[in-house]
Amino acid sequence: MSRNREISRRKFVVTAAAAGGGLMLGIAFTKGDVRRAAVPAKISGRPWESLAGKGDIEVGPWVVIAPDDTVTIRIGQSEMGQGVITSCAKMLAEELECDWSKVRAEYVSVNRHFRENKVYKRLVTTSSSSVRLGRPYLQQAGASARERLMAAAAQTWGVPRPELTVKDSVVTHQPTGRTLRYGQVAQKAAGLKLSAEPSVKTPDQYTLMKTPTKLLDVPPKVDGSAVYGIDVRLPGMLYAAAKASPVFLGKVKKYDADPVKNRPGVHSVVEFNGPEIEAGVAVVADSYWRAKTALDLLPIEWDEGAHGNDSSEDFFKMSRAALDESGAKVVTKIGEPEAALKNASQVVEAVYQVPYLDHTVMEPFNCTAQVKPDRVDIWVGSQEPEAATLDASKITGVPVENVYLHNCFLGGGFGRRGNQDDVRQAVAIAKQLNGRPVKVIWSREETTRHGYYRPMRVSRFRAALGPDGMPLAWHTRVAGVDEAVFAAKLVAAEGGLANTRAARTDEPADEQLIRGLHKLPYFAPNQLFDYHLRKTHVPTGPWTSVGRSQNEFFLETFVDELAHAAGKDPYDYRRTLLGANPEFPRAKAWIQVLGAVAEKSGWGKPLPAGSGRGVAIGDSRRLSRTEITICAMVATVSASKKGEVRVERFDVAIDTGPFLVNPLAAERQVEMQVVMGLAATLNQEITIEKGRVVQSNFDNYPLLRATQMPEVGVQWVRATDDPIAGIGEEAVGWVAPAICNAIFAATGKRIRSLPLKNHDLSWT
């Protein structure tokens, strides 16, 4: 009864506004105002909807040209604040030779990607890969479209192609001075086939790239029209508030819908579970607030499974114990490290640990889904729309050609929005609602407590130093927790879904544990790097910088410790160790970047008591790729005697390689990463008690506040000749060690575990 009444109430509600004695009839469920943008739209607030008009011509799957020369470029990567829409559009426009002021952007159709044999190459936005992997095919798509447009002009005039030039969407026949605009030849170009694909520009030929470009996605983000996943509204849409098992891998034992089913607006109470779906219960209602308040009153009994007493404290104990256990997996062994350590007169040893971290996306988790027998629609902000589509298809049995994922703006990603748990859960809920669309929203608490966390980790570093302070032997041992245990467990049980890391990457599950540590940049004639991997029930996943936020804290803090043990300046010591390492061909470039940041930060200049500088450097090297991005940082901190630490400024030097696609976006990304790393270093940790996450909201998992913001100076350095790995996460890793090394310089206190809030930093 209640269900019918609520539907009818919502549908036929008559609103009465008594103003002036008049009576207003209408439907209270007003549609969102579709507002006209005041600034000419370069991108729609609903980026998944095509801007292309009726007379617009598609010249290849990526490019649409309007009769008035407006060019719409399709973007396969997801915008979450990194400026990727603008960067992808630039890479293509660089070759298209179109008028940038007339470029618009829209997302590619994910559905078309599947229907046309993965025509958009890769719908993934992770690992700083958008430029690194996207540039070749985006440049090619732009060049191909340009050549077809020029061939069409040549045909129109009956002249040879070499007599034509092009600039800003205008093709000119040089001998006669005649011109044709792209809009005039697009129709003909669309029907042309090239006998051979044109070659593309090399970085030294770039004209549009390398220069700062304003971001296309800014205007809809200052007038409220940008639609994030959580903002989607559909006719007949229901809202769901979801609660998953507080203890990971638990089950719903029972729940009682009776106390809530007659509450206002409540539609139904549904359970969800399945492969790679944390089991739980959702209340479905006609508004989120009604769903949420009902969910809060819903009695649920959980089967906590085997992990109801697990704690992160125990995980740390287990990991610390593992440091002394035999059977560690060896990654690197050079010379006779054990013997050298045994015989050394000076051995420096340190044990480090870092906690689980949450991604803390600003937009709480959500997904809207509509499941019909022959079609599935999904609205979500996703870093991996391709994998999400495959998962939705698998869960519903609807062929992937009939799954439509509408990618929205992402209110932060950081690696979190590439796990598809939001999509799987929403699809599992929507499946039970007879084809009605439902928007599932997690509370902030649910979002914090059901993450795929940055893995906690413990490490022990030992180095034998010679009389000159140079390392004779070096042993790194890491005890990590499985980076994808949640997925792995369910894969084993169910045969796996599309998104599982094991299924779509060649990298071993422990690759992020290894990254950076596998190849020591500093000279040590005898080396050993080995590790243990332990399992916990806590889901983990990639967190911006993937591995570096832990490994570089260990490595760059330890080098600092060695410098002090050797009585050397930490900056000079690094230079010496790099210069002495014949096995590290990038040492020269490292030294260049290191020198740049030292100079900029005033390294070595006196500071008042209680202030100090700390340096850190790295290059984001990985086992699985050759590209690197060299980044060096100096943090300048001040610490009061009471132990209040303030990071005053960050100087960052980064190698650009031969080009940056958009220096404006690149600088913002570096600043963003400094803020991210700083917040984590100061205050953030996810702890586990009784099998569940303790933290819940910004009060106990604080973000950086404006008042804590340091000055950030970013300096571009041309230190290498190959394109860099990227810049989406290549600065995060060095924030923590730079700060902690600076704290040592300021207070004499060596920080070996994070976050800083757990330390007494007072000094006298």
Binding site: T15, A16, A19, A38, G81, D217, D223, M362, E363, A706
Partner: protein, 234 residues
Amino acid sequence: MDEEKPAASASRGVAIRVSAGHSSEPFDREAHPIAGLAGAPAEKQTEKILLDQERSGWVYTHSTPGFRNGHPAARVELEVFTMLSLRVNRKTYSVDAEPETPLLWVIRDTIGLTGTKFGCGMALCGACTVHVNGKPVRSCVTRASRVVGQEVTTIEGLSPNAQHPAQIAWREGDVPACGYCQSGQIMAAAALLAKKPNPTDTDIEQEITNLCRCGTYRRIRQAIHRAAQIAAKS
């Protein structure tokens, strides 16, 4: 309707349901005029019901004789309930929501203006900042009933064509990154600028406590100074 005076605090809403036999079908006002008001415009029919009734939760039942052979009587039910009357962006909305519903969810779900964001639900982050009578308010912890009769402004209503000096400055400085917190940041900034047309860095630090996960704080501060300049010129 755009420039109405604030409406009375609460009014009555009516839900109508018609059922015939075992089925429950959408009620078509044209096809099934309420008894005694056949032919009258829908507004009149509703007015009559409202005038006749004082109490909420009343169910008006009207049964028609079997209108088709073999069918039991059709039944029309009317339910009266409280509606909140809210002024948002200079329009009056009567909304079906419990008085304790946070203003945020009324704005987003019921009225359908989604530029105001849900971030924390505890007034910690400010993503939900709107103006109530020009003052910045965190709508996630503000009961909807508290703002009845007051002027609520959201990012969508801050200015015609997004030309508020803060919005212009935000575009000039490419302030947003992911952008999710920026509606709240802009609303907080606009309220500050209204109070202090030329705020200092300290004013900004003290008054704008909104969180930004992407760390756009430096650009926000610069944009507020720029907005002050733009406002002074216009």
